[in-house]
């Protein structure tokens, strides 16, 4: 645990030093939410903007957390610092755990920022329980996305090899996770493919919670699935991260 916390402290120090990255990570979701507002305002009256706005906020957090963690881990490999960590005695679960804890702070800020922007710009009003659930589910999605980024980074030798994974992971999320259409209307295989994406579970919870009369009790399995997703990716990344060439 001591070494995990050392990695966390180092990651946090680097994030705080890189004010440009930190600022952009927080501002970009807000700007995109504003563009979404401009777009959805063109829809006919009676259009349910909330059905898209809150999931899009979740998607933005998912996309940024995934991209950032994947890139940073690959940079560790290309710079030789990952190898140096291993040689100095840091172990795979300690490095992954340290990164996860380090990025939790950023994920929390992104989740709060994107959700607040959506609520304010779209004038959405929810009860405290719903708001808390929405925040927690976007936060869990951010953690799952960090884990997904770490997992994907273990297959890349340099930054360029991460890029093909970006559209491969994030674009199908838009179409197959229920963000655009009800997954039940998709072909069975596409529906199953969507179940491999974390946004699917987050979107299920969000749609349930923003529905009038929606209750967490009716969607708790999706929260469990999201938690399971994080645990499974943690285990997988701990195995696939190459320590020895």
């Amino acid at each position: 645990m001591r070494r995990t916390l050392l990695v966390t402290r180092r990651v946090l120090t680097q994030l705080l030093h890189d004010r440009r990255l930190l600022g952009l990570s927080l501002i970009v979701p807000l700007v995109i939410v504003y563009f979404l507002k401009l777009f959805l305002d063109t829809m006919p009256p009676g259009f349910d903007a909330a059905r898209y706005a809150v999931p899009v906020a979740a998607f933005l957090v998912h996309f940024l957390a995934f991209l950032l963690s994947a890139m940073v881990l690959v940079q560790e490999r290309t710079a030789g610092t990952l190898e140096r960590m291993f040689i100095n005695g840091y172990r795979r679960p300690e490095i992954i755990g340290g990164y996860l804890l380090g990025y939790l702070g950023l994920a929390t800020l992104q989740a709060v920022g994107a959700l607040t922007a959506v609520l304010l710009l779209f004038g959405l009003r929810y009860g405290a329980g719903t708001l808390a659930t929405l925040f927690v589910v976007i936060w869990l999605l951010a953690i799952a996305s960090v884990m997904l980024g770490i997992f994907i980074s273990t297959f890349a030798r340099h930054e360029g090899q991460v890029f093909p994974f970006v559209p491969l992971i994030t674009v199908p999320s838009v179409f197959l996770s229920g963000l655009m259409v009800d997954p039940a209307r998709l072909p069975a295989w596409a529906d199953w493919l969507g179940r491999a994406l974390p946004l699917r579970y987050a979107n299920n919870v969000i749609q349930e919670m923003i529905r009038p009369g929606g209750a967490l009790a009716d969607t708790w399995l999706n929260v469990v699935a999201l938690l399971g997703y994080i645990v499974v990716l943690l285990a997988l990344a701990s195995r696939t991260m190459r320590e020895v060439e």
Partner: protein, 288 residues
């Protein structure tokens, strides 16, 4: 492997797809020795060092450092080895102190803070310890990298071209430090392609095409070289070539008896570079 052997490499081979990086390399480094791994670029020096630190899995053969297998007993071994790769392998956005403390922290050493200050002092970095590494020159980055390799007081130092891109003054400081560390019992294996560095070592292992083709003290290696003599006597100048043994020089001059008429004798022995090139040429010839 004897009790005083720090590094033992036996028939080590490493294949990367179709590329053979090492083929049957053997090496035995005694504890407290300053050992050079010499050879041109691409002959497997870095691969050999990376096998010693457990960063790669050999295709065949065995490696022991302080009697430990770098892969199976990595936890125990990593507290006892310090490694410096060819690239600085540092966090450019962290300070020198933060880098050294982060990597040193992995070992859970008592009194880490004071030890970090000690190695920063030792590597002449105390004045810039709080500056971020991206503001440093290549030589300064090498110093941070060396401080990082030293912070946990390793018994064995494995340094992959530690002085590449380092100015002559700093190189001299590095070698002073290496010699001081060996007097304290630290074993140092340094890969280099610089002959003037190799002669500063206790022994030199020459690596060629993934195999150690010679493993001797620098003085013995030099004796393998040829010596060219030019003896001027009146209008006549004799050009002679003898082997590098001191006895051969005496024998060659004996016939002249150091007569008054012998006006000048110039001696040009092979440098270590000449010896290395001759060994490489011989090896290439043998492989044909």
């Amino acid at each position: 492997m004897t009790a005083t052997t720090a590094i033992e490499v036996t028939a080590l081979a490493k294949q990367y797809g179709n590329i053979t990086a090492l083929q049957g390399a053997n090496l035995s480094v005694p504890e407290g020795a300053l050992y050079a791994l010499l050879g041109p670029n691409g002959v497997g020096k870095s691969t050999l060092i990376r096998a010693l630190v457990g960063a790669l899995r050999p295709t065949s053969g065995s490696v022991r450092v302080l009697g430990l297998d770098p892969l199976r007993e990595r936890g125990e071994l990593r507290r006892q080895i310090g490694y410096m790769s060819q690239s600085a392998a540092l966090y450019a956005d962290l300070s020198a102190r933060d880098n050294v403390a982060f990597f040193g922290g992995a070992h859970g050493e008592e009194g880490l803070e004071s030890r970090v200050e000690e190695v920063l002092e030792l590597t002449d970095l105390a004045g810039r310890a709080d500056d971020r590494v991206h503001t440093f020159s290549g030589g300064m980055r090498s110093r941070v990298s060396l401080a990082t390799a030293l912070v946990h007081r390793p018994r064995v130092l494995l340094l992959d071209e530690p002085t590449a891109g380092v100015d002559p003054y700093l190189r001299a400081r590095f070698w002073e430090l290496f010699r001081q560390l060996t007097t304290e019992g630290v074993t140092i294996l340094i890969s280099t392609h610089l002959m003037d560095e190799a002669v500063l070592c206790d022994r030199v292992a020459i690596l060629m095409a993934g195999t150690v083709i010679a493993d001797e003290p620098p003085a013995t290696l030099l004796e393998r070289g040829r010596t060219r003599l030019s003896v001027r006597e009146g209008n006549r100048t004799d050009e002679l070539e003898i082997d590098g043994q001191p006895q051969a020089l005496a024998a060659a001059l004996r016939s002249y008896g150091l007569r008054e008429s012998v006006e000048a004798v110039s001696v040009r022995p092979d440098s270590l570079e000449d010896v290395l090139l001759a060994l490489i040429a011989g090896e290439q010839e043998a492989q044909r």
